[in-house]
């Protein structure tokens, strides 16, 4: 590579609680997804033996259903400020959010694009959050009468099946995109590491979430960095910055 | 049954009273449904609105034990409104007979009553006879001492107001029933009465049936298709077992067992003289008795030894069920054999019957299951095994399709059952068990002589060499054969009184007329006319399907209803013919003696409106049940004056003050009798798994009982726990202006089997009918409270 090496300087983007919450959410979602597939369409019946038969699949689905409900609570309890910020971000929409989509479309298909300045969550993540919240509520709320039909009127259970299904379809669509961006899409991959370790390269954070980064710099939490991520000046001792490996 | 199940479809009106065929004889409703489709009406009279009531056109409620007022009112209604069949009544019944002037009726008592003996001198009710010994008749029915006029007088007291006052039947409903049923008095119409234990299990049970007989004779409904008096039998072969003399008073074929109370019975000649009437078919009785003795004692029955007549046991008292258990209770019995019976559940005052069992030295029970009776000594039965010294032998019997043999249904159809499978485990056919026991007992006496040994040694027991008796030999002996040639007898008309023929049961003689032709095995399902199916099985007597069918024709022999003709006189051929076997002397021609007398089994050839042979009177009269909440409005005789009373601990009596509620017992479709056969089957137990009582919403409210609550029912004899089924199908009756409640309960339960529950018969009394001593299960007093 002819380009200059990017700096290893990292900044903390996510709290441990969020990392856990996100992890549990992701794992349980996939577990739910896998265990539901053979029930969704007989095309995936071959999964039954893997899952320990319909009963095994059902049991796992219920275990992960419980797991799926917990992340919100983890986040709320252990990182309430983070959760609050998320909520606040979700209700804050500006022109930059619209611009974001224009550029993202270009990027995704490999065209030339430029980063629009974003705050902690970019507009895409916010949309993702919205749909995820919506589908999660849909799935959880409809799943309860499905699990305990004896306590609900038949109509509620029957509509439960419908909404569970709709939720499932929506969630899958969103999640597929979400994962693509985080795992496969190379421009976003530091975010993937970030959501596991909680830390991201400073230059990447600055590039993707410029407003947020600058804000943190102003607060003295993050080092001010140049294009390649190298600090412009020494950081304050109480910053959360850590040395990368 | 005088008619058959299939015949019910030809009725214009079926009065179902004291029975619940939809629940207890369900297949009868196949034919009742057909009757309905043919335009017939179904009438249900029952204290409880049953499934039969649900299927009926008219339902009338009545308080348990008031059938005679109900029917007495109907008799009055038919007479007052001229609805009776005049020719039939005049010609075919004894309504025209003149009764001696010693007959009286006053305040509930007929003449000749002896209060000490609680019995009547029945000679006071005798019919006047002419010089030839024939009854004096008045066909105008106007003679004041004619049966007809006496009847009219007797039932004039049963006016609608008094009837509804005591039965509690809403007047509208009562009149609807009277109108519908009496409409069958029209010439050519047929009405049937179908009854069961709801009629008979009363202290006036026999008279309840008599009341049916009277109305049926008045309406000309006996002997006609779609008519008759049809007792629906509760067990597959209670008909056959009665035919075969499993009651103390009868030998086989309704021949009276000789008693030691009549000196004439000291000799066979005397016995025959006493038993044989001069007229009617029973005049052939000596042939039947001698042939029976030849069947039982074989070569040991000779003219010289009165055909072994002296070996027959001669009793001197009433040995019926209640008396049997009284004797057991008093320690007079040492041993007992039980064949598929469970009196600890099914007997009256069952708690006492269970206690009585422990007085036995030995008990042999033959059954498919361990019953509450054979296990009476167990802790679960509430007994202390250590204190009970009864030796119990429980022999496993096989079920009906693990063996072969025939059964006779209510319609007297003798149908063969083939063996479908070998007996389960070590179980055996009762035939083999009885045979082995008889053989073993006989063997013990083989080398003994002396008075006790002689009768048993003389008993002819010859049914093959194997352990299992040859059933064909048994069948042949029942039918009868010529003892010299071994040739089978074609019919009881060929039986002899000289000892040359044998027949184990004369009424069955003819079912096996020739070698290889056991007619119980007949399976030709072709309808031979009027759904009589003459080639399907065999019906005694002589394959007749409708008893007294001569009465379906007018005196000249022409059917009253030509569309529904079963027999008729064929003038061209000079004999009786038809689609049924005439229950008559087929060759009797117009002008012959008795040509106009259709009831050949009656000594006078006519139906008995007046029955001077019964213990409690020639006409049914209302008496209250032994335990009753009401006063008898008809006389000062509260209970039947001729019933045998059992006092003391054996039978505590309850009164209205402590037990104000009328109770009755009944059966459900899914269980059978004492429940032994059905509570041991899972599918049936599943359908009715719990003991319950049915109770009206009104009584439930009074007692603070809610549906499904556990309740305790108590009577003077005991208590049972049950679930409460609060239902609209029981309603309190207004009796003499006061509200009287009634409850009902199934009597199938015990503590064995899959479906268990308390035994209803712990509540019922040890009291029986005046003629049959059948227990009064259907009306007794109780109280109910929440458990």
């Amino acid at each position: 590579m002819s380009k200059p090496q990017k700096s290893n300087v990292k900044v903390r983007r996510f709290s441990k609680a969020f990392v856990w919450a996100h992890g549990i959410n992701a794992i349980s979602f996939f577990a739910l997804y896998i265990t539901a597939l053979p029930m969704y369409t007989e095309f995936f019946d071959w999964l039954y033996p893997v899952l320990g038969g319909p009963e095994g699949a059902r049991l796992l689905h219920r275990i992960f259903a419980v797991a799926f409900v917990t992340p919100t609570f983890i986040w709320v309890i252990f990182d309430f400020p983070g959760f609050k910020r998320w909520m606040k971000e979700l209700v804050t929409w500006k022109k930059r959010d619209i611009d974001f989509f224009k550029e993202v479309a270009k990027e995704l298909f490999g065209f030339k694009f430029k980063h629009v300045r974003q705050s902690f969550f970019n507009a895409g993540e916010k949309i993702n959050s919205f749909i995820q919240i919506f589908t999660a509520i849909l799935i959880i709320a409809s799943g309860i009468p499905m699990w305990f039909p004896e306590f609900f009127p038949a109509a509620v259970v029957q509509w439960g099946y419908f909404f569970h299904n709709v939720g499932f379809g929506l969630a899958i669509a969103v999640v597929v995109g979400h994962i693509y961006l985080s795992v496969v899409h190379k421009h976003s991959s530091p975010g993937y590491t970030g959501v596991i370790t909680g830390e991201v390269p400073a230059w990447w954070a600055k590039g993707h979430y410029t407003d947020w980064y600058d804000e943190e710099v102003a607060k003295g939490n993050f080092p001010d960095i140049d294009e390649n991520g190298n600090p412009k000046k020494p950081t304050s001792p109480d910053s959360k910055k850590k040395k990368g490996a | 049954m005088t008619n058959s199940w299939n015949d019910v479809q030809y009725t214009d009106c079926a009065l179902i009273m004291g029975a619940n065929p939809a629940e207890n004889h369900p297949i009868s409703f196949r034919w009742l449904t057909k009757a309905k489709e043919n335009g017939g009406k179904i009438v249900s009279v029952d204290p409880r609105y049953t499934r039969t009531s649900a299927m009926s056109d008219i339902y009338a409620s009545l308080r348990s034990g008031t059938d005679i007022p109900f029917m007495g009112g109907m008799i009055k209604y038919a007479l007052d409104n001229n609805l009776y069949h005049k020719e039939y009544v005049a010609k075919y019944t004894n309504a025209s007979f003149i009764v001696k002037d010693s007959y009286k009726f006053e305040d509930g008592l007929f003449s000749g009553y002896n209060a000490e003996k609680r019995a009547y001198d029945k000679t006071q009710w005798a019919i006047e006879k002419d010089a030839e010994g024939k009854p004096v008749k008045d066909f105008t029915l106007e003679h004041p001492r004619s049966v007809f006029q006496l009847m009219k007088k007797h039932y004039s007291r049963y006016d609608v107001d008094t009837v509804v006052k005591i039965t509690g039947t809403p007047e509208d409903d009562l009149l609807k029933v009277y109108e519908a049923f009496c409409a069958t008095g029209k010439v050519g119409k047929a009405g049937t009465i179908m009854y069961a234990m709801g009629t008979t299990q009363h202290t006036v049970g026999t008279q309840n049936v008599r009341a049916f007989a009277i109305i049926q004779l008045l309406l000309g409904n006996v002997g006609v298709p779609g008519g008759g008096i049809n007792a629906m039998r509760g067990e597959s072969n209670v008909q056959g077992s009665t035919d075969f003399g499993l009651l103390y008073g009868n030998l086989t074929g309704y021949l009276n067992a000789p008693t030691s109370t009549d000196k004439l019975n000291a000799t066979l000649a005397g016995h025959l003289e006493k038993e044989t009437p001069k007229t009617g078919y029973w005049s052939n009785k000596p042939k039947f008795i001698v042939s029976l003795l030849k069947a039982w004692y074989g070569p040991n029955a000779t003219p010289e030894n009165e055909f072994a007549y002296q070996y027959l046991p001669k009793g001197n008292k009433n040995y019926s069920h209640i008396n049997l258990f009284k004797a057991m209770y008093d320690g007079k019995l040492e041993g007992a054999f039980l064949f598929g019976t469970n009196p600890v559940v099914g007997g009256p005052n069952a708690g006492k019957e269970k206690e009585a069992l422990s007085n036995l030295k030995w008990l042999v029970a033959v059954d498919l299951w361990e019953t509450e009776t054979s296990a009476f000594w167990q802790k679960e039965a509430g007994s202390d095994p250590g204190k009970i010294n009864t030796e119990v032998f429980l022999l496993p019997a096989c079920s009906s399709y693990e063996k072969e043999g025939s059964v006779s249904n209510s319609a007297r159809w003798m149908q063969y059952r083939w063996q479908a499978i070998k007996p389960l485990g070590e179980s055996k056919a009762d035939l083999e068990i009885i045979h082995e026991l008889a053989t073993k007992i006989k063997a013990l006496y083989k080398n003994e002589s002396g008075p006790a040994a002689a009768p048993i040694n003389a008993l002819y027991w010859n049914y093959g060499e194997g352990h299992h008796p040859d059933i064909d030999l048994v069948c042949k002996e029942i039918n009868g054969y010529d003892v010299n040639t071994g040739k089978l007898i074609a019919g009881f008309g060929n039986l002899k009184d000289d000892g040359s023929t044998c027949s184990g049961n004369w009424i069955y003689c003819g079912f096996y007329p020739e070698e290889g032709k056991n007619r119980a095995k007949n399976r030709d399902k072709k309808d031979t006319g009027m759904s009589l199916y003459l080639n399907w099985s065999y019906a005694w007597p002589m394959n007749r399907r409708i008893l007294y069918n001569r009465a379906s024709c007018d005196p000249s022999g022409v059917p009253y209803n030509k569309e529904k003709a079963v027999v008729w006189y064929d003038a061209a051929k000079g004999k009786w013919t038809g689609v049924d076997i005439p229950d008559f002397v087929a060759t009797r021609k117009p002008g012959d003696a008795g040509f106009e007398d259709p009831f050949i089994m009656m000594n006078d050839g006519v139906g008995g409106v007046f029955a001077p042979t019964l213990n409690d009177g020639p006409f049914p009269e209302h008496y209250e049940p032994y335990e009753s909440p009401a006063k008898n409005p008809f006389s000062s005789q509260e209970i039947n004056p001729t019933i045998q009373l059992f006092d003391g601990k054996f039978n505590e009596r309850g009164f209205k003050a402590d037990y104000p509620i009328v109770a009755t017992t009944y059966r459900v479709s899914e269980h059978w009798q004492s429940g032994t056969m059905t509570r041991n089957q899972e599918w049936l137990s599943e359908l009715v798994p719990h003991m319950y009582i049915e109770i009206s919403e009104e009584l439930a409210k009074e007692k603070g009982i809610k549906n499904k609550d556990k309740v305790i029912v108590s009577s003077a004899r005991g208590e049972v726990k049950a679930y409460a089924m609060v239902t609209k199908r029981f309603k309190p009756h207004t009796i003499d202006g006061k509200k009287v409640h009634q409850i009902g309960m199934p009597w199938h339960f015990g503590y064995k089997g899959f479906a268990t529950g308390d035994t209803a018969n712990r509540l019922t009394p040890h009291i029986g009918d005046a003629n049959t001593t059948i227990p009064e299960y259907k009306a007794f007093l109780c109280d109910v409270r929440r458990a």
Binding site: P54, E55, L108, G169, V176 | R51, L684, E686, P689, T727
Partner: protein, 273 residues
Amino acid sequence: MATEYVKFVDVTKCDGCRACMVACKNWNDLPAEQQDFLGSAQSHAKTTADTWNVLQYIEHENSKGKLDYLFRHSACFHCTDAACEKVCPENAISYTDFGTVVIDHEKCVGCGYCVNNCPFEVISLKEYVDKNGDKYRKAHKCTMCTDRLEEGLQPACVTTCHTGAMEFGDKAAMIKKAEERVKQIKDRYPNAMVYNPKGVGGTHTVYVLAEKPSVYGLPENPKVPTSAVLWKDYAQPLGKMMIGATTMGVIGMFISSRIINKGKQDEGGDSHE
């Protein structure tokens, strides 16, 4: 299809003997179930996995204020448009050429979708224990004795019914019979009606009811639940399409970005590693 058959149940002829219940158990070898006392003659509250038909006993005060003791043989209706068949994720439920609706137990996974979507609530799950002691479930209901139909026999319940309350035969003839019967009994039962609900495309068990369906606890206008229709006819295909489309989209994005990027040699935008 040639002739379509239906089971015609005329409840006004039924005398409540329950032979149909036992005949069903007998033919299908179904075990008995321990039952609580229900406060009436009725043995089971409704059909179960081991009791495919239940005789209902209803004490009903009719419009004239009189007591009617009503009976009804209740079992699977074998709908022409069967919700159970629609919602089964395994295609374990199918229609036979007789018009009956049957469950293939080889395919059934015991999910219970059919149980919860049946408008008549006649399907139940039964729990089994396999050789290893593991539990599994299968859905059960009346088969209309399809095995007997194949052999030219009528359903066991119909065969045993002694009052003629049940008949099995040509659909058109049975419906005609039902309509005529209703006319006959209008005097006795003014609310009598033929129950052959259109909402499920008609059923293969057609009733003459003595009273309004609600008296028997039956829905007046049963239909395949709208939710099931939306779910199975719209949401599920759409969902499948969405999964497909999203997957295709992602693949498309991946490929296209690879191709374009290859061509441009990372010229455009920031390069991130």
